[in-house]
Amino acid sequence: MPLLECDHLALGYPGLLLTADLSFSLEGGQCLCILGANGSGKSTLVRTLLHLQPPLRGHIRLGEGLKPSDIGYLPQQTNVQRDFPATVWEVVLSGCIGHMGLRPFFSRPQKDLARRQLHRLGLDGLEGRSFRELSGGQRQRVLLARALCAARRLLLLDEPVAGLDPAAQEDMYHLTQSLYQEDGMGVIMVSHDVHESVRHATHVLHMSPTPFWGTREQYQTRFPQSSTVCQKES
């Protein structure tokens, strides 16, 4: 059974239909790239996958006993966070908030988990640093570490490279790649950056009135314009 399976989803708000019929699935070790123009329903899909908003029609099924709160979510950075007084440790640890149940404070295993994720993303030694003093790339790593604290097998990255310089973008893509290739996680990546993100994905979901879902190779034969750039680069 796949990690995530969406069945004839219709998305939108009462009175506004964004997508009528969306079906796709994702397994461990795959990376699905979600593309689409502004207003095509990308962020609505994200909210629906996180169960923050019900679909108009259709079903979302999570496999392997996953709960909606087990999806590791990397949101876009907000304005509030740019000058928020918080240390890297506080931010990463807050990823465990979903496992806290009724306890008021974090337990030792949760702190150990946070420490492991910090190490995994190469953030050792930065625990005490202030989040607002970090570079854009470092901040994104910290938020990814927080998402990994919450995630069991599934990651949802919303515009992970937006606003990063090219080196930091490349770095972020490599991190993502290691997560699904080496750790066998399922990764969903929402992106504006068609060429680069498709190059790092295994599957593509193109949101439009006639949505496309398939492997990267299928996408590149179907939409050759976008793939020519990729081929030249590679």
Partner: protein, 429 residues
């Protein structure tokens, strides 16, 4: 210091300090979250709502206005904090609308249906708090302490969740924190703090208690935990030094506390600018806080010396008084007179020396002239009067409005089924 000790002996001063510190602590804790969530103005808006609600309670002659004020403020807080997403009128506009609207309606209602003889005094007291923190009853203090403790307990128990939803609400709801419910409880707690703080600084100045400590702490600390601790320490120090200064120097309590908060903010901002390195900043922070404490203490100390000097310059022999109000500052005089009227039994048969202005009124039925010693509070918006009867009936009476010092014995009489105190066998000095 001597003066401070005398003042601290009064139970109402002790009550004021206990309640003031509790209120300062709880408002600064929540302030950090409100400032970071870009909700700083909520405090201001809600305090005006509380003023409007208080006006309604006064017009309806509620004995315990809190019963009405607290629910109304809580409702408005929920409306403002929770409906801000997807509402037709957005954030700041809805706050502006609500705050100005309730201020206007409140004043209008008081003006049209108010039964008080001193309308502007009442309004001024609610808006600027003037002396209301000094007029708390033990019951009020218990209420204040319990509610503040509840707020602090809420903050500690929900600390991790508050941090998570303040830092990133979408993420927290995605991983299963019930952000909506959290926001709802937060709104209610904010409303409770606003209503409490109205006693301390008055409804126009509440925002200062919420905003300044948090902003000052944010100049110095880099972690959320550090900011929280630092803000509460700054707030408590400022409230304490502000209260003591106000009591010693006779300045209005609310504005003095806010001035102390502003000083703290400026100090912290300067330290934050001058010392960019974090480790050095921690030592500087401690130094700054110590300085602040000293400032408050020395400020109070200086002012306290003033009445002592006056005493030396008047070597005339005087009749011994149980309560000599020429030795204290105007605010204390007002407070004592306030309690003479509230609780005349506590002052029965005391000899009292009272400075003030002479006010002459005529009894509408008996056409008898009654002489009063009139005392105003430090903000000048409220006045209280104590009647006096001269021992020597043939003595020349003072004219209306002249400054007098009355020495007499406080005796209780019944008037219109109320016990009032009159300074009998009085002598003008």
């Amino acid at each position: 210091m001597e003066a401070l000790r005398t003042y601290l002996a009064y139970p109402f001063v002790q009550y004021a300090i206990i309640a003031g510190l509790m209120i300062a602590l709880s408002s600064s804790l929540l302030g950090v979250t409100l400032v970071l969530k870009r909700f700083s103005l909520i405090g201001d808006g809600l305090s005006h709502v509380a003023f409007g609600a208080l006006a309604v309670a006064t017009v309806l002659r509620f004995h315990a206005p809190m019963v009405l004020v607290l629910p109304i403020t809580i409702l408005c807080a929920i409306a403002l904090l929770c409906a801000s997403q997807g509402a037709r009128i957005r954030g700041d506009a809805s706050i502006a609308m609500l705050s100005v609207g309730s201020l206007a309606i409140g004043y209008l209602l008081l003006n049209l249906f108010g039964s008080s003889s001193n309308l502007s005094g009442d309004v001024c007291t609610t808006l600027f708090g003037s002396t209301s923190i000094l007029t708390l009853s033990p019951m009020d203090v218990w209420c204040c302490a319990l509610l503040s403790l509840a707020v602090v307990a809420f903050f500690i128990l929900f600390y991790e969740r508050i941090f998570a939803i303040t830092f990133d609400e979408t993420f927290s709801s995605a991983v299963g924190v019930r952000s909506r419910q959290c926001n709802l409880v937060l709104a209610m707690v904010v409303a409770v703090i606003i209503v409490l703080a109205m006693n301390l600084v008055g409804s126009l100045l509440i925002s200062a208690l919420i905003v300044f400590p948090a902003l000052a702490a944010m100049r110095l600390c880099t972690s959320f935990f550090g900011v929280t601790i630092c803000a509460s320490v700054i707030s408590i120090i400022c409230a304490l030094s502000g209260l003591l200064t106000a009591i010693l120097a006779g300045t209005p309590v609310g504005s003095t506390i806010v001035a102390a908060d502003m000083t703290a903010f400026l100090l912290c901002a300067a330290v934050g600018l001058l010392i960019p390195r974090i480790k050095a900043r921690r030592t500087a922070m401690t130094a700054a806080l110590c300085m602040l404490l000293l400032c408050g203490a020395s400020c109070g100390g200086k002012k306290a010396e003033v009445p002592a000097k006056e005493e030396e310059s008047q070597p005339q022999e005087k009749l011994a008084a149980d309560l000599d109000l020429t030795q204290v500052n105007p605010m204390m005089i007002y407070m004592q007179v306030f309690y003479m009227i509230q609780k005349p039994h506590d002052y029965a048969e005391m000899s009292i020396r009272l400075p003030g202005t002479c006010t002459i009124m005529e009894d509408t039925r008996t056409h008898e002239r009654i002489y009063y010693c009139n005392v105003t509070d430090s903000t000048g918006c409220c006045a209280k009067m104590i009647p006096f009867r001269l021992k020597d009936a043939s003595a020349t009476m003072p004219s209306n409005g002249s400054a007098i010092v009355v020495y007499g014995h406080f005796r209780l009489t019944e008037k219109d089924q109320k016990t009032i105190g009159v300074l009998c066998d009085a002598v003008l000095e």
